[in-house]
Structures are given as structure tokens and as C-alpha cells.
């Protein structure tokens, strides 16, 4: 008896997202479950984007402060610093617009972004502050200012997708659509967004991220289910690239913050914290994420090595 590899039959292809103006990044385009090189095409590697914020972060713990505190007052310097660390793409999170932060007005943000765009030429992802109303007010302005730069903007949610999606469409950007850990909600939001005319091939699904140990398994399984629905079960509304906002959730956890003196049984804080981020990210690569936002350079290095290792088998 000899052994024949049982192969899955796929009907879908994840759309390829290309973004950036002078420098370009690509993701998606695959035809099989994550890293199943033996049964599908994988034209692009998953992409890790360094996260920066438009204002000095209030909640970056010690291990991140060590790295970024000398540059985080100035987004342009911060972005250049990431570029020097090897960033292939940058995510700017507009934390300053949140009412609990500086409640920045759309025009202020627009002015700063204009300057940023002339100084930084890496492919750009622009995220709001996760405040439904404020994002709805600011992101359209931001989308317009960055017209022609071919960015990814987000996140559009059920409560604010109309204005955000419409403006992203007018400016030619791709869009991140976030729903809450539910396959049907993700599908529903994609349907709503396409119904206002937004091109389906430019939507990226954020099924809602979580950190290892803090709801991780929900995100992991929802991603797997979305991938299977899109590629195997012919559900075209779920056939989109997946986004994972890893750094944001990981660096809130106690594991990424508590000192070794406080929890001696957890070992060294430096390794524990950045590896918490790396393993959260590596896991989501296996459940389907192809665009991941991360914070710690060492975590990104480990994750990228993992991606290169996986892709060594690409035919």
C-alpha cells in the first residue's frame, strides 16, 4: 500500500491587496488554507506592519518605552526609526482623536497627516481610535487627505461603516472592516459595505483580535472558520484577507508588564513580553491572518523569521 496525500478542493482565492505609493506592499492572493503550500498558490507573504501613534502613547509599558520613548513625541521620527529597524509598512493609530485622549479635531489631524505623508514613504495603514463616532468624523477627512497614497484605512464597524467606507472608496483606499468575533457578523458587515458600492476586493476583515491568554482561542477559531468559509465553502463575502491587531491587545496584558520581582515564577520580563507578542502573532498566521500590526521589534523579527521559514516550502 502506498500513501497518497489527501488534498482539499478549494473554490476561492483571497483577493490580493496592493498598497503604498512610492514603496509598495502586497498581501493576500492565496488559494488554500494558511501555509498549505502542498495544495495551493501563495503569491505573497503575510505582512507585518510596525505600529506608531499620532501622539505620545499613554499606556506603553516599560519594554516598549525603552525602545520608543526617544522618538514617540514625533510620528515622523518614530516612523523613520521603524524604517531603520526594517519596517516594510507602518500603521499610524490616531489615538489623539479619542475623546479620552486629546480629542483632536479632524483638521488638526489632517494637517499633521499631510506633513507625515510628504516625509514618510512606507506603505501606510491608518487606524482610528476605536471610538465609533469620533472615527466616523475623522477618518473621512483623513482618507481624503491621503488620496493618491493608496493606503489601508480602518476600522469600519457596524456603527460607522457608511461614512468611512464611502470616503475610503472615493479616495481609492483599501478598508479594514471590524466585527466582533462572529463569522456571521463579519459576513454581514462585508455585505453592508459592498452594498454602498465599496469594491469587495479591497476589504480586509478584522474579526477582532485578542492576546494569548485573554480570549485568544476565540479569535483563532473565528479566523479559521472565516478562511474555511471563504476558500472551501464558496462564501465569497468571507473570502477576504484577515487583519490582526496583535500589539494593541498584547501590550495590555499583565504578562507583558509585570516585573520579575512581582511574579518570579513567570521569568524574565523582556523575553516574556516580546515573545507573548510574537507567539500571539505566529499563531494567528496559522489561523489565517495576513496583515498583522505589531509593536516590539524583536517580536517582529521572530515572527518574520517564522514567515520566511514557512515560505521556504513555497513551490
Amino acid at each position: 500500500m502506498s500513501f497518497i496525500i489527501p488534498k482539499e478542493i478549494y473554490t476561492g482565492r483571497i483577493p490580493e491587496i496592493v498598497f503604498g505609493k512610492d514603496k509598495i506592499a502586497r498581501l493576500g492572493g492565496e488559494t488554500a488554507l494558511p501555509m498549505h503550500f502542498f495544495e495551493g498558490d501563495f503569491p505573497n507573504k503575510p505582512l507585518i506592519a510596525f505600529e506608531i501613534q499620532d501622539t505620545k502613547p499613554e499606556d506603553y509599558p516599560q519594554e516598549l518605552a525603552k525602545i520608543y520613548s526617544s522618538v514617540w513625541d514625533d510620528p515622523i521620527r518614530w516612523a523613520r526609526f521603524c524604517e531603520a529597524l526594517g519596517a516594510k509598512a507602518i500603521t499610524v493609530r490616531l489615538m489623539s482623536i479619542h475623546p479620552d485622549s486629546k480629542d483632536s479635531k479632524p483638521e488638526e489631524v489632517a494637517d499633521r497627516l499631510r506633513k507625515f505623508l510628504t516625509e514618510v514613504d512606507l506603505p501606510l495603514i491608518i487606524l482610528g481610535s476605536n471610538h465609533i463616532e469620533k472615527d466616523a468624523e475623522v477618518l473621512p477627512v483623513v482618507a481624503d487627505v491621503s488620496r493618491g497614497y493608496n493606503c489601508i484605512v480602518g476600522k469600519a464597524q457596524e456603527g460607522n461603516y457608511k461614512t468611512i467606507a464611502a470616503s475610503a472608496m472615493a479616495a481609492g483606499h483599501s478598508l479594514i472592516a471590524m466585527s466582533e468575533l462572529d463569522v456571521n457578523l463579519a459576513k454581514q458587515l462585508n455585505i453592508l459595505i459592498t452594498q454602498i458600492g465599496f469594491p469587495k476586493e479591497k476589504i480586509i476583515i478584522d474579526p477582532m483580535c485578542s492576546a494569548l491568554g485573554y480570549g485568544f482561542e476565540y479569535t483563532y477559531s473565528v479566523m479559521e472558520r472565516i478562511r474555511i468559509a471563504g476558500l472551501v465553502q464558496q462564501d465569497s463575502m468571507l473570502c477576504s484577507p484577515l487583519f490582526a491587531d496583535v500589539g494593541f491587545y498584547v501590550w495590555k496584558t499583565k504578562e507583558a508588564q509585570a516585573s520579575e520581582e512581582d511574579v518570579p515564577q513567570w521569568g524574565s520580563l523582556y523575553e516574556r513580553s516580546f515573545m507573548w507578542e510574537a507567539i500571539t502573532a505566529c499563531s494567528f498566521l496559522l489561523s489565517g491572518a495576513e496583515l498583522i500590526v505589531m509593536r516590539h521589534p524583536d517580536a517582529i523579527r521572530v515572527t518574520e523569521r517564522f514567515i520566511d521559514d514557512l515560505f521556504s516550502l513555497r513551490q
Binding site: P6, F216, E224, Q265, S268, E271, R272, M275, A278, S312
Partner: protein
Amino acid sequence: MALTGIEIFKLLPKTNCKKCGFPTCLAFAMKVAQGQVQIEQCPDVSEEVKTKLKEAATPPIKGFEFGSENQRIKIGDETVLFRHEKKFYNPTVLALQISDVDENIDKKVDEVLNSQIERVEQILKIDAIFLKNESGNLEVFSRALEKIRNKASQIPLIFGISSPKIASYVLEGFKNGRPILYGATEENFSDIAEIAKRYNVPVGVIAKGVEKVFFITETLRTKGVEDLVIDTQPQTAAELLRDNTIIRRAALKGVKALGYPIITFANRDDEFYETVMASVGILKYSSIVVLSSILKWKNLILFTLRQNIYSDPQIPMQVRQDIYKVGNPDGNSPLIITTNFALTYFLVKSEIENSKVPTWLAIMDCDGLSVLTAWAAGKFSASRIAQFIKESEVEKKLNNRELIIPGYVAMLKAAIEDKLPGWKVIVGPKEASGIPTFLRNYIRSKH
């Protein structure tokens, strides 16, 4: 795959003769499918059907136990490719590799024994030791084994021995439970099979790639050696993922020769990459992952990942609604409220413990949802909280009327105070890690 009620019904005589004690064959079939009655209860069912049912009910991945008398570990018995389809059953065993020529065996065994961490009220630890016969010498191996047994007489063991002769000597003298014999290669598998049979131990099957492994397991099966663990010797994470995926998928499609648990050697020179390899093993179907060293941060990550992946996706872990005591609270102690999601409860409870401030902890039934999820679902609302606090009669225990709520639901403060006349609601920090400082300040402000 287990058969459904309808599938079982099709195999029954369909006479509705009631001899089984059920009104119809269909009713009986449904009960059999649910595992509530045995098929034998129908006197007219054929032997052939009985075997068929038994086969269908056996998980496609062979399950078995290894380890010592007092520390048995079950591996295998898995039934799905993705955890959302049902669940993953027997968590990945984490083992430390120790070489028989290692000079620090005692120290390493101590590290294994001290690896325990508690998380969400489960004790997590390095479960086993892989002892490698690197010396190729019987005496050296026996001495190393003795050192291990002196310190950890019950620790489950895997023997990395390739010489059939040494293997048979070692097993002859070994009388505590069932170690795994690792193992059978293309060169020695007939001899190893004989030994495994004689001593009734599970065998590791070692060959490069799925096809070569397939050939060996196929032969061992026909010789009646059935408790196997597979090692396709992946060199990279990519090969590990590919081989394990193919094996699990083939097994689920009925390829018996691949229906065995997998053992993965994650050990690498680079600790970071070893952690990644081990994680791939945990996420993707390895039943045993062998590590090269014990580091606290690495353990914590792998333990947590394993706990997450092997949790039941259908049932969130919950705790009972009640007013719990943390420490020995009295009438002047603070009162904290949160939801009954097990993770939430344990995180909050352990931080209260860290604060050393005796505290009343009110756990409210929210169908096992976390604070914000329960709030968003309307289950952790002001009126429900007020009702719970009233009905719990916690006020009889207290001299004050103050309730501390999670920082993430600060917006409930006014509404709760509205519905609980005479009470003051205090907003705590957002993350549980802020609780120790918060509680200490709270107590200080009272004096």
C-alpha cells in the same frame, strides 16, 4: 466518526418489536447515538453491525496512556481537524530532553519538578522527561535513569534508545508503568516491535517524511503493535506544519496507518525559535512536544497556549454565582463585583490575593461572559447588578454600603447608585493588574 441516530437506525432490524425497551427502533437509535444505551440492548442486531458501530465510535487517532502508575498521561483520541468542529481532547504533553551524558541531570530534573505554574486554577507543568541514550552505552543510560528516578520516581518517561539490545535490557529492569520507547527506525523496527510487544510499551516511529513513516506504521500494525507515536523528523516549522496537517487529515479520512499521535522535537539552539516550533506543535496536532531547556517565560507561554487551544469552544468556563471570600474579610472589608467567566474570576481573585487585602468578591452569573462582553450583551447591567446585590443579602455582612465595579464599566456607576439607594459605587481600575495598588489605597483612605 461516530454515527448519527439516523445512520444507526438504518442498521437496525426496523421491526419496532420493543424488545430493547424503546417504543421504536428510531427512538432506540437516537439513544445509542447519544451514548445513553448500548447497542447490545437490541437482541436482533447482527454481529457485523456491532463491529461497524464500534469502529465508527473509535476515534480516528489512536488513544493510549503512558507514564508511571501514579502519573498516567493520555494522548491521542482526537477527532477533528479544527477545534471549532468539536474540541481538541488530550492536551499536548510537554517533555524536557535530557541526555544520558549530561552532567546536570539532577538540576534539570529539579527544574522539571519546579515547573508548576497555576493559571485559571489549573496546575500547568512540564509533564515528562525524554531521556536520550546519547552515549550509546547501557551503563551510562541506566545510571542517568536512576538519577532521574531517585528525584522523580513518578515522572512519565520517554526513552530515546535506538539500540534494540539496550532497549530490551532497560525495559527488563524497569518496573514502573509504561514509558514510551523511541524508537523504531527504518533499520531496526522489526526488533523494536518485538521488544515493545514483550514489554507492552508504546513505540515512537521515526523516519524522514510522512511516506516513510507510513511504511513502518503499516508494518507494525500488522504485527499487532498498536500504540505508536509518529515522528516525521521535520527540520523546519514549515515541514512540521505540512507533515502534521497531512497526517491529521489522512487519519480523519480513514488512513489507519497514520491514525496515531505525533511527537515533535522542538529543540533548537535559539530559545525564541524553539518556542515558535513548540507553539506550532501545540496549535497543529503534536501530542508530545520535546524541549531542550526549561525557562520560566517559555513555559508560561507554552502552557497558556496549550490551555487556550485545548479549551472547549462550546462551553465557556464558568464559576457559580455567589459572594466569595478572598482571605478573611469582615464587615469593614471591601466588596468587589465581577462576572462569572472563569478567566475573569481567576484573574481578579489572584490580584486580590496579591493585594493581601481580605475582600468580598461578588460573582454574578452572566452566562460565563467577560466583563465587557457581558455588558454588551446586557447581562452585566445596572439593574441586574442591583438585583443581585439585593438578593445576595451581602449587606448583612458589611458595615458600609460600597460596591467596587470594574473600570471597564465605569459608565454603570450612576445607574447602579440609582437602583441601589444608600449605596456608593466606586470605579476600580480597568485591568485586574491595577487591583493591588487600588485596594491598598482604598483601605488606607478608610483609616
